[in-house]
């Protein structure tokens, strides 16, 4: 046995990860200190310079006017007539069904995106093949196209006059004016989100971790499921959340291909549009509130959850 040479000095094995000094930061935000003599001692009085006040109020103002106020206005409008009309607007069967349908299909879309987005991200990062860079820049295309155009495009593409449409019709498959169509539209519109959030995580992934798994006897599939996938889960979740919110709110593309049959294929945003057209902004806002609140809660919950698990995205 070794002598007890470790003594005391060496008990300090614990060198924990150093907390980087984010609390105190100097770029644009460090509060310069005022030193004040009081009680015959130097006291520190943190103050904020006019410059910082200006920056902060600019930012807060921007956020307030352009983001918070419109969102607050939705709430104000929804409750403008009090609780009862708000409640009635929601419990109207058609409104309720539209909300349910939208939430349901948004969830389906999110799941689909989680799968195909993750796969695409992996292929785009890990595999070298012809056209990879082109595909990589095509990913954001759905962002750039006017959503109404996207809808029209899908309508043309899947309609009975197109090759694809007629071919599908021969098999008795219709991809228009049903829930499948809505999901197709949602998937198209939200295509970039998961890919774009997962990509950097895969790029950063430490190859050694994967190799460690092989050295421990794990197969490729096992390694993928147990090591790689969990590492990109925060990205999938973040991208999934954005997908979910965006799918909830999509209007332009869906209104053209969904069929809009109230209670069957009408999504919430189309319902909202109808209410606006009918001069019922309160009803429209009420439905919006439900969707907004839902996605706000989901966003917050997931953030809290990740924080608790110590994952920082």
């Amino acid at each position: 046995m070794l002598a007890d040479r470790t003594a005391e000095g060496s008990l300090h094995l614990a060198h924990m990860p150093v907390v980087s000094g984010c609390q105190e930061s100097f770029l644009f935000c460090r509060p310069p200190l005022n030193y004040v003599w009081r009680d015959r001692k130097l006291k520190v009085m943190p103050t904020v310079t006019p410059y910082q006040i200006a920056v902060r109020s600019l930012l807060i103002g921007y956020l307030l006017v352009l983001v918070v106020m419109p969102i607050a206005a939705v709430y104000a409008e929804g409750f403008s007539l009090g609780w009862t009309p708000f409640w009635e607007a929601l419990t109207a069967v058609i409104a309720w069904k539209a909300i349910l349908l939208t939430v349901k299909l948004s969830v389906v879309t999110t799941v689909i995106q989680a799968v195909i987005g993750t796969m695409s991200a992996f292929v785009l990062v890990r595999c070298r093949f012809w056209g990879r860079r082109l595909f990589n820049s095509l990913v954001d295309l759905p962002f750039a196209l006017p959503t109404a155009v996207s809808g029209l495009m899908l309508l043309t593409l899947l309609g009975p006059q197109s090759l694809l449409g007629s071919w599908l019709q021969a098999f008795g498959i219709s991809l228009l004016f049903n829930q499948t169509a809505i999901v197709i539209g949602m998937v198209f519109i939200t295509f970039p989100f998961v890919i774009r959030t997962v990509q950097p995580l895969i790029e950063q992934f430490d190859l050694a971790e994967e190799q460690a798994s092989y050295t421990l006897g794990a197969s490729k599939v096992y390694t993928f499921c147990k090591v790689l996938l969990p590492a990109v889960v925060p990205g999938i979740i973040a991208g999934g959340l954005l997908t979910f919110s965006r799918a909830l709110a999509e209007f332009g593309a869906l209104s053209l291909i969904s069929g809009n049959l109230p209670g069957k294929t009408q999504v919430a945003s189309v319902f909202i549009y109808g209410e606006i057209e009918n001069f019922n902004t309160q009803g429209a806002a009420a439905v919006s509130i439900v969707l907004l609140t839902l996605s706000f809660l989901v966003l917050w919950a997931v953030q809290a959850l990740q924080k608790r698990r110590g994952i920082v995205t």
């Binding site: 069967v93 029209l152 309508l155 069929g259 209670g263 057209e277």
Partner: protein, 332 residues
């Protein structure tokens, strides 16, 4: 330029605009009327120039009828509102922007007329002749959503009215029978697009066997070479589309004179002929006669008054929990 969205928005410009070289007129129209208006503008500009030496500059916006009415109420300063539904004009009036009795104008303030008709594919393969044919199983019907489209209200009114008429043949007009027919047609609806134009666009993509729409839309398409046929059911409704000067904004812009002149011009033979050319039924009986052979006449044409007027229709048919809601709710 677009940066001065409404150059005459300041009161100071009131006086100056009268003597100015150019006067600008803002048109808030519903989507269908765009082409016809664009054909009429040059004619009016020419006439006004000759008369006053002023150049008229048109600013135009076309949206779904309800949306346009809302925009005008919310501050879109249109001098002239040309909408699909009387009701939409009434809403503007209710907001206090129209103060004169607009229905006292010529032709009750209506500038165009039409009827609700059925569009079918070339050769009418599904043999659609009447509303009842739309209830057959397997028929795919296209209809815009009356909740989002002004035009669709005419369509639904037509079905409902036809239902009443048919039951009246057998005795009393029976709201229940009318509702049942509407409901059965609704069951065959493939897609409820949010506007008449979108519905037409969907039909153009090859979707659906039959579309319920304005006669003029169909005539226009067929003229431009589409392989459709128009079917006019025995009972259908007469459509009337109003146009009106928005008092609040013409006062503000100081454009009342030219706005009223333009409105009058819309009722002139010249303008009415242009409407008729593109398939509308003219409100001017003379012109209507000249173009008569362009239209198929239904056995019985009724108007909104047959259904009790727009107020009643809006309440009973489209109001909260109204017949339309019941049908939609009952069909889930």
């Amino acid at each position: 330029s677009f940066t001065e969205a409404s150059p005459d928005s300041t009161p100071a410009s009131d006086a100056s605009s009268r003597s100015a070289e150019t006067v600008s007129l803002t048109i808030g129209g519903y989507s269908t009327i765009k082409e016809e208006f664009e054909a009429i503008f040059p004619l009016f500009q020419k006439q006004w120039k000759e008369k006053t030496g002023q150049t008229v500059e048109f600013k135009q916006s076309y949206q779904a009828s309800g949306a346009q009415a809302q925009n005008i109420i919310n501050g879109f300063e249109a001098d002239i509102a040309a909408l699909s539904l009387e009701g939409d004009i009434d809403k503007i009036a209710k907001a206090g922007l129209i103060t004169h009795e607009w229905k006292e104008a010529p032709h009750g303030g209506m500038i165009t007329g039409s009827i609700v008709a059925l569009g079918v594919r070339a050769g009418n393969p599904k043999a659609i002749e009447d509303w009842a044919d739309l209830t057959k199983p397997g028929i795919e019907v296209l209809l815009p959503n009356p909740k989002t489209s002004g035009g669709a209200k005419w369509d639904v009114n037509a079905i409902y009215g036809a239902g009443l008429k048919q039951s009246a043949e057998a005795g009393q007009p029976d709201p229940a029978a009318a509702k049942k027919m509407l409901s059965r047609i609704y069951q065959n609806v493939k897609t409820l697009d949010k506007s008449g134009e979108e519905s037409m666009a969907t039909f153009d993509k090859g979707v659906g066997d039959v579309i319920i729409t304005y006669e003029n839309e169909l005539i226009d398409r067929i003229k431009s070479g589409k392989n459709y046929e128009e079917v006019v059911p025995p009972y259908t409704i007469a459509i009337e589309n109003p146009a009106v000067v928005v008092d609040a904004y013409v006062e503000k812009h100081g454009t009342r004179e030219v706005a009223e002149a333009f409105l009058d011009f819309l009722w002139s033979a010249e303008a009415q002929r242009i409407f008729a050319e593109s398939g509308f039924r003219s409100v001017d009986p003379e012109i209507a006669k000249t173009y008569a052979n362009q239209y198929k006449q239904p056995a019985s044409l009724f108007d909104t008054n047959y259904l009790g007027g727009w107020d009643k229709v809006n309440k009973e048919l489209y109001g909260n929990g109204g017949i339309w809601d019941q049908i939609v709710a009952g069909n889930q």
